[in-house]
């Protein structure tokens, strides 16, 4: 489906959710004031300016990119492993990133929250550790994918490797200083507010690089729908393509996980929502739709985190399963009618 109306409505929805993210919260800010602040005009209350520019705008932009990144990495993994249940959190890739972050946060003194723009090298360490951890798990999965042809079994291996990583994290937690453990646990609940205005440009830059990388893989991804032999016969270099897809997934997952914590379900569920909405598994349609939908869902989660009428904020990972799990159950129950993976 290549209907311009479809993309337009999705973009409008994204815009609405983005605006709501800026205006709605513990302190509601009128929409006209919000626009004035964004345009740099005078506003009734100075406090609003700092709420919008220092907190809500970075948070909404983070959700926008994190959602797109996670969703697209889920899509790449589902196509590569030819399995509808593949996703960064299921295959243990998020756990790998977790492990990397845990080592840096708990023992090397790195943290994202206390950092200012000057300590760039410090949060670069967190990102690099997350990337290294994600790639380590990916490497293990790739190794087993050549041994185990059955995709369901491979998925179980991914889950097991994830458990192993979690267990190492538990051990690290057990012997770490209490204040660091608290920071790490809070980070682990997931949050789009972890990226400060100063860090935001870096986050955007890395995410955009990963998303662009994914967009460049559309042609080989489509060939991979037919399986690796067919793809090879169409002139696709399989080993290189596999490596590209995995590095791209590792990059996207690592950046998001480093800044937002291990966010569950968006990577798994959004590609299915995109397939159901567009009715196609052609990546020319699916990659952009998955990105847009991922951003929408992440912004929606960001809004739902705020408990109405209170100052309470729910952890992100408490919200995502409510949106993600029903989608997965729906897809499994209706797989005879949907049949995208046949």
């Amino acid at each position: 489906m290549n209907n311009p109306l479809f993309y337009t409505s999705l973009s409008i929805l994204l815009l609405i959710l983005f605006t709501v993210s800026l205006t709605y919260g513990a302190v509601p800010i009128p929409i006209d004031q919000t626009i004035d602040i964004l345009l740099g005009k005078e506003t009734d209350r100075e406090a609003w300016r700092s709420i919008i520019l220092q907190a809500r705008l970075p948070q909404a932009v983070t959700a926008l990119f994190a959602g797109a990144s996670l969703a697209v990495s889920g899509l790449l993994l589902q196509t590569l492993f030819r399995n509808p249940l593949a996703g960064p959190s299921i295959l243990g890739i998020s756990d790998g990133a977790n492990l990397g972050v845990a080592i840096v946060m708990l023992y090397l003194g790195g943290s994202l929250r206390q950092l200012t723009g000057q300590a760039v090298s410090n949060y670069m360490a967190v990102i690099l550790a997350a990337f290294a951890g994600a790639c380590l798990i990916l490497g293990i999965i790739i190794y087993f994918s050549s041994k185990v042809k059955n995709n369901a079994m491979l998925l179980i291996i991914g889950i097991m490797v994830g458990y192993l990583a979690s267990s190492v994290i538990s051990i690290l937690n057990y012997y770490a200083a209490a204040d660091k453990v608290r920071t790490f646990v809070l980070w682990g609940l997931g949050n789009f507010s972890g990226v400060s205005a100063a860090q935001l440009p870096y986050f955007i830059l890395f995410s955009l690089a990963g998303l662009l990388f994914a967009a460049l893989l559309i042609k080989p991804l489509n060939a991979l729908l037919l399986g690796e032999l067919y793809a090879a016969n169409l002139g696709i270099r399989i080993k290189r393509t596999r490596a590209f897809i995995l590095v791209c997934t590792g990059l996207l997952t690592a950046i998001t996980t480093a800044f937002c914590g291990p966010v569950s379900f968006i990577g798994l569920a959004v590609p299915h929502i995109a397939r159901l909405m567009s009715g196609s598994s052609n990546h020319k349609v699916l990659v952009p739709v998955t990105m847009l939908t991922g951003s929408c869902i992440a912004l929606l989660c960001n809004i739902l985190m705020i408990v109405p009428g209170t100052n309470l904020i729910l952890p992100l990972n408490a919200v995502t399963p409510f949106l993600g799990a029903p989608v997965i159950i729906y897809v499994i129950v209706n797989r005879k009618n949907i049949r995208h993976f046949e």
């Binding site: 489509n222 037919l226 090879a232 169409l234 052609n282 049949r339 993976f341």
Partner: protein
């Protein structure tokens, strides 16, 4: 005469195992795949059909010998070059249920399109023509998941056509199809061979269909040299009988069919062509061999499907009104003679 599309010299196929060992599946293969012909590769399970096809497609390297593709050593081809020369239709499970037939066939243009796979006007025209040639254009905008097995096979063949390769290799394209699907697929391949001068190689278990439609047969057996030739030649020179030599299984050259045991008693059959053909079929099933009329045999004169005259060697005659009652008479007669 134009050179063969694929020519192998002393080809040895198999797998490289760890530690420098090799598992040889077949060796000393001197094969020729000719353009404008349909060639069927026949062999029992485990004979190495898939290994041979995979080697010819370039999916796995040969253990020895050489392959010439379109009069050029296959080693001179880049991966893109190969994808422009050999199109494949495999038994591999795909995940293409969610794309349309048109999308699938456009994947065949991959070797020709640029980095983003954008289709030009010329590509679109070739896709349309391929859909048309494979007889699947009415379903062009249906999703693959909505197609029958036969239609899916046609879509895959259309993909191979869109690749515009002189050679098409198909691994058991008729395996999961019903009888009409099998015949349609084979007819389509014949048409493509003659109209588009393609060299078509397919593996199959479908003996009848292979004898009916192939220009050339390759009979592959474990631990024996490959036998190649026109089906009729292979039947007449006894290659088939040798090929299927197995306990309790016999290839009958007079019918082109495999039977579980050798027909023993000859029975003379004459008369109306269609009736005598099917009376013969019933006799074979019951362990008799239909033969030309002879005095010392029991003879059957098929006047019409409802009038079958049996003449025994002693001169007595009986009449049957259907094949069923004919068989019943035969059985009682046999019991009497045994007593």
């Amino acid at each position: 005469m134009t050179p063969p599309a694929i020519e192998t010299t002393d080809l040895c196929i198999g797998y490289r195992l760890s530690g420098g060992h090799q598992k040889i599946i077949s060796q000393s293969l001197d094969l020729q795949l000719r353009t404008s012909e349909v060639t069927c590769l026949l062999g029992l399970n485990g004979a190495g059909k898939s290994t041979l096809l995979r080697t010819l497609c370039g999916f796995q390297p040969p253990l020895g010998g050489s392959i010439r593709l379109m009069d050029k050593p296959v080693t001179d081809y880049s991966q893109t070059g190969l994808s422009l020369t050999i199109g494949v239709v495999l038994t591999e499970k795909t995940n293409a249920g969610g794309i349309t037939v048109y999308d699938l066939v456009s994947l065949g243009r991959h070797p020709y399109t640029g980095f983003f796979g954008q289709l030009r006007k010329q590509d679109r025209q070739i896709i349309e023509e391929s859909l048309e040639a494979a007889g699947i254009s009415p379903k062009a905008h249906n999703r693959i998941a909505e197609l029958s097995d036969g239609e899916r096979q046609k879509a895959m063949i259309a993909k191979a056509l869109a690749q515009q390769c002189p050679v098409i290799i198909l691994d058991e394209p008729t395996a999961f199809l019903d009888v009409t699907g099998r015949i349609e697929t084979m007819a389509l391949l014949r048409k493509l061979a003659s109209e588009q001068q393609k060299a078509i190689l397919l593996s199959t278990h479908d003996l009848d269909l292979a004898i009916q439609t192939a220009d050339c047969l390759w009979l592959q057996q474990q631990d024996r040299p490959m036998t190649c030739g026109t089906p009729e030649d292979l039947i007449l020179n006894g290659a088939f009988e040798l090929f299927f030599q197995k306990k309790n299984i016999v290839f009958d050259p007079s019918t082109g069919k495999l039977n579980t045991e050798s027909p023993t008693l000859p029975v003379g059959v004459e008369g109306d062509f269609l009736t005598s053909y099917w009376v013969g079929n019933a006799l074979i099933r019951n362990g008799y061999r239909p033969s030309p009329i002879q005095k010392e045999y029991t003879n059957i004169n098929c006047l019409s499907p409802h009038q079958l005259i049996i003449t025994h060697p002693d001169g007595t005659t009986r009449e049957a009104c259907s094949v069923q009652s004919l068989l019943r008479l035969f059985r009682t007669n046999q019991q009497v003679s045994q007593v």
